[in-house]
């Protein structure tokens, strides 16, 4: 063979340890060729093998009557009634998006879309969870600008609506400035019996390559970009970022859905991370078969590509299809109709081996199952970090707090994390395919109808990294709770979870401890809410120059509405209705300085990130959800909005800023607690409800039945916004003034880029 010999240096350059290399030799019974080394290195990379996270992920609840397919496939699948299945998954594209924000984010969207339609489901919607550093830094503005444009470019062109997401802008300590997070989620729907799995079956069945030609782009994208820390040389990795072609993916999408209708397709898988290597080996391993491919048949964009390069290329918009022997022409003709390159490059074999030939010469010959499944699994050491010595927030004396309240409230509303995200979401086509019932900014979760049924699907992504950095377990519980709370606020029953776990270097024991704690918190909360985890993605090595990001689990949660027309938005509907706070409980006075120090207010107004996120009583939270759902189902509720970052006043203001009409509110607050905590504390389990006179008594009765507090705070108004506190008027103004600060806060900061 003409390839370079494998040396210890080469092994190390491929990110494999000496022990892993011994394991490879044992599997092969000999030294690997260079191509084989490359194949093992990508399959056994952290990104593809989950070698550091596997032992922990097992603790997540993954089963339930609704789960049709849990973790392990291209995406999770759940039963949603009416013979339909929802397919959904979230995935990270963090490193590429830092190196090349536009293409990194674009190809992230492209990749998650392929995961969904390779399962036979037409993509219905995209959401994106994004985390950036502070917008005061022009570099972060340009990253945010590039990422948003990239998502828009890909999603808008392929015609899948981007219906929601969340964005945080956090200070230097978050690490997001040097390691932004881009986590796209995609949801698709198909009839239950048409869900497709990536399992190569049927010895002699032809293997068809379809889509873009293979180039030298993205070689080692997943294994090098996503499986190592960042440093000063990261920009040199730009050639490892792939370039997206959404039009080509649109052709693939339509051709595959049409091809599946022929019934002649046995299995299919996209070529994402680790390209041809991953798709051939995983399809064989899952199907218990082998595969033989001839590399010279692979359509190539460049001359002289070696087997190593062809196997490891991460060129986008490519798929591998196993067809039924003798019926390949039916499929090829569909691909031709859509103008796609499609070539038979090999066949399914019985011997369980992945055999790769290049002009007749064997470049790799590896047993597929051990390659896919026998990567060493690490139970890496955990260490509790030393306790922090930190300054907590000091509450301002009441007279000062009162004087400063109007100004602080405006500043908070205009801060980028809390301000309207319209600057972002109006760049995304969120109405294409005419299924979007509640789009971005309209409800606490996005709501989509399913044509031909009465079913609605609701989706949200949530995850406060700041909370998790202060207490990973609580932070994870709060993230799951908020996701579920967002769903019940639109009237959807929380149904299932997909998650994207973004962390630092797993070889560091404190990072592994964070990871383990987050898994524990997620597992506890998912059990209480009855929302099994159906899959997702782990993204480690989110570090630059040794500094890790906030541990950031992003929870993507799917909810189901039996009657989509009953969904409610977050904006108040008419003046003169009662505003009820559901789930109000006495704050824990002991912990108050601690919990308020972790709030958005502490961060934005006092420049402080410290203390502990608020404690959550999961059983109580669940009762609040059930009560809210039942109230919406019975038609008592005109609008529902949960309290999260920014606390009560921010939630109240947001509910006033409906998409079109702006209403006001007059509320009365009371109690012994400091004014700042009452207005901006972030205790969970709370929901604002707008209720008309006619349903008020029924709603209060329902709350009593569910054993949750419900307090009448005041009324909606035509425009005046007034807050009474212990007999004093502490805020008195017009909602238009607040809406202006909130509506332009983000745009103003972002437009400093072009301006």
């Amino acid at each position: 063979m003409s390839e370079a010999a494998v040396t210890a240096d080469l092994v190390a350059q491929h990110g494999l340890t000496a022990e892993e290399y011994e394991g490879i030799k044992e599997i092969l019974g000999r030294e690997p060729t260079l191509t084989e080394l490359g194949i093992f290195s990508v399959m056994w990379s952290e990104h593809c093998s989950y070698k550091s996270s596997k032992v922990h992920l097992k603790r997540l609840p993954t089963t339930g009557p609704q789960v049709l397919q849990g973790p392990g496939e291209n995406a999770g699948v759940v039963d949603i009634g009416d013979g339909l299945a929802a397919v959904f998954k979230i995935e990270s594209h963090n490193h590429p998006s830092f190196v090349e924000p536009f293409q990194g984010a674009a190809t992230g969207v492209g990749g998650i879309l392929r995961d969904i339609f390779t399962m036979g489901a037409r993509p219905l919607a995209i959401l994106d969870a994004l985390r950036f550093g502070s917008l005061d830094n022009p570099k972060n503005r340009s990253l945010a600008e590039g990422v948003v444009s990239g998502i828009a470019f890909y999603g808008n062109c392929i015609g899948v609506p981007t219906v929601g997401g969340d964005v945080y802008f956090d200070p230097e300590a978050s690490g997001y400035a040097h390691n932004p997070l881009v986590n796209p989620l995609c949801l698709g729907v198909a009839p239950r019996e048409k869900i497709f799995f990536a399992r190569a079956r049927g010895v002699g069945n032809p293997v068809i390559y379809v889509g873009a030609k293979t180039g030298r782009d993205g070689i080692h994208g997943a294994s090098l970009l996503a499986s190592a820390e960042f440093d000063e040389t990261s920009q040199q990795k730009r050639p490892n970022v792939q370039i997206g072609d959404p039009f080509l993916e649109k052709l693939l999408l339509e051709a595959l859905l049409e091809g599946l209708e022929t019934g002649a397709i046995v299995a299919l898988q996209d070529m994402g991370a680790a390209g041809l290597t991953c798709s051939t080996c995983e399809m064989s391993a899952r199907g218990g078969t082998g595969m033989e491919i001839e590399l010279e048949r692979v359509p190539q964009r460049e001359d002289g590509m070696t087997p190593y390069e062809i196997m490891l290329s991460e060129s986008q918009e490519r798929m591998l299809v196993v067809a039924e022997n003798g019926r390949e022409e039916e499929i090829l003709s569909v691909f031709r109709k859509w103008g796609l390159d499609a070539v038979i490059i090999g066949q399914v074999t019985a011997d369980g081996r992945l055999r790769v030939r290049h002009y007749g010469e064997v470049a790799a010959d590896i047993p597929a199952r051990p390659l896919a499944d026998d990567c060493p699994v690490y139970n890496r050491p955990l260490a509790v970090p030393p306790p922090r010595i930190e300054k907590l927030i000091e509450f301002a004396p009441e007279t000062v707090a009162r004087r400063e309240l109007p100004e602080n409230f405006l500043r908070l509303l205009a801060s980028p994390t809390l301000a309207s995200k319209r600057w972002i979401f109006q760049q995304y086509d969120h109405t294409v395919r005419t299924n979007t019932v509640l789009g971005p900014g309209q409800g606490d979760a996005a709501v989509l109808r399913l044509k031909g049924t009465r079913i609605g699907l609701a989706l949200t992504v949530d995850g406060n990294g700041r909370y998790c950095s202060l207490n990973p377990r609580r932070g994870a519980q709060l993230a799951v709770a908020e996701a579920a709370r967002n769903l019940v606020c639109v009237g959807a029953r929380p149904w299932a979870v997909t998650n994207c776990l973004n962390f630092g270097n797993p070889e560091k024991s404190e990072i592994m401890w964070q990871f383990s704690e987050v898994i524990e918190g997620m597992a506890e909360a998912c059990r209480v809410f009855g929302t099994p985890v159906t899959g997702g993605n782990v993204s480690f090595y989110n570090e630059t120059r040794g500094k890790a990001i906030y541990p950031t689990p992003v929870i993507g949660m799917l909810g189901v509405l039996e009657e989509v027309e009953r969904c409610v938005g977050a904006g108040f509907r008419s003046s003169g209705n009662t505003i009820v706070l559901l789930g109000v409980r006495p704050f824990n006075r002991e912990e108050l300085e601690q919990t308020f120090s972790s709030s958005e207010y502490a961060k934005s107004i006092r420049g402080l990130v410290a203390g502990q996120p608020p404690e959550i009583d999961l059983a109580y939270e669940k009762r609040v959800h059930d009560c809210c759902l039942e109230a919406i189902r019975r038609g008592y509720v005109a609008a529902a909005h949960d309290l999260s970052e920014g606390g009560l006043l921010v939630a109240l203001a947001e509910a006033c800023f409906g998409v079109e009409s702006k209403l006001g509110a007059v509320v009365t607050l009371a109690g012994e607690l400091p004014l700042e905590a009452v207005c901006f504390g972030e205790e969970p389990s709370r929901i604002l409800l707008e209720v008309d006179e006619q349903h008020l008594a029924d709603l209060l009765g329902l709350a009593a039945q569910y054993q949750v507090e419900a307090r009448q705070l005041g009324w909606t108004t035509a425009g005046e916004f007034r807050v009474h506190f212990n007999g004093n008027i502490v805020l008195d103004g017009d909602v238009a003034h607040l809406a202006e600060a909130w509506g332009t806060g983000l745009a103003r900061q972002m437009q400093a880029v072009s301006g």
Binding site: S149, A152, N156, C157, I158, G159, D245, P246, F247, L248, K250, L251, E254, W338, G339, F425, Q426, Q427, Y428, D429, H430, T431, V432, R433, T434, T436, V437, R449, K451, V564, E565, S754
Partner: protein, 233 residues
């Protein structure tokens, strides 16, 4: 009556237009593949939104040379009713079936949001069921919707009442600010027709505002007008 929805490989509003015509309005509707030239049996042709051939080149430039557009040109010259929505409108401009061109939106960004349109001419097949100066709430979703034409062309459009829709405030005033004319279109032009009135194009998406769950049903009147005028033809 038979309606046709053209499918370019990158059309992504084809299903939406088909859904409104076929499922909401119950009209016999068929797909027309971009390589087909068989459209003479149709009563009207819809060119839907999307990215016809990816539109990496100027939007609609490649589509205007496609086989189906050759047939659409003939169909239009013979008096056939053609409606272009968003990318379909861009293709009609590139094909020379309607005058003018599209620039990028004034902020150079894709814009997806509701806008308000004032109906400027009710004597077209697409607006015959509208009240004069009726205001319609319909979403836009485009990067290049900033209509442009030279002064002489705009004068011609005005003189022959070919401007069918203008971006307006909810109250129907024509104001050139970012709120009511977000893409910066010249003279707030959102949609036009040819002089014969059988070819129309607009940037907003009436098919996305044709059912109560979509937040507006104001778009339905365009399709109802079109069907009514075909029936009475």
């Amino acid at each position: 009556m038979k309606l046709g929805v053209v499918v370019f490989p990158g059309s992504n509003c084809d299903h939406d237009a088909f859904h409104v015509l076929h499922d909401v309005l119950g009209q016999p509707t068929e797909w027309v593949w971009h390589e087909s030239t068989h459209i003479h049996h149709l009563d009207a042709v819809i060119l839907p939104g999307g990215f016809a051939y990816g539109d990496y080149l100027r939007t609609g430039a490649i589509a205007s040379h496609s086989p189906v557009m050759g047939a659409v040109k003939k169909f239009a010259r013979a008096g056939g009713v053609v409606l272009g929505i968003c990318n379909g409108f861009q293709i009609l401009l590139e094909s020379g079936l309607l005058p003018g061109a599209m620039l990028r939106n004034r902020r150079l960004k894709f814009l997806c949001r509701f806008v308000h349109l004032r109906v400027e001419n009710t004597a077209t097949p697409f607006t015959s069921a509208c009240r004069p100066a009726q205001v319609l709430k319909i979403p836009i979703a485009h990067m290049e919707g900033n209509y442009y034409a030279d002064a002489a062309t705009v004068r011609e459009l005005e003189r022959h009442q070919q401007i069918v829709f203008r971006y307006a405030t909810p109250a129907g005033e024509i104001v050139d600010d970012e709120e009511s004319n977000p893409n910066g279109a010249l003279a707030n032009i959102a949609g036009i027709a040819n002089r014969e009135r059988n070819v129309g194009g607009l940037m907003p998406h009436p098919e996305r505002a044709s059912e109560p769950l979509m937040g507006s049903t104001d778009g339905l009147v365009l399709f109802q007008s079109m069907i009514a005028s075909l029936v009475s033809k």
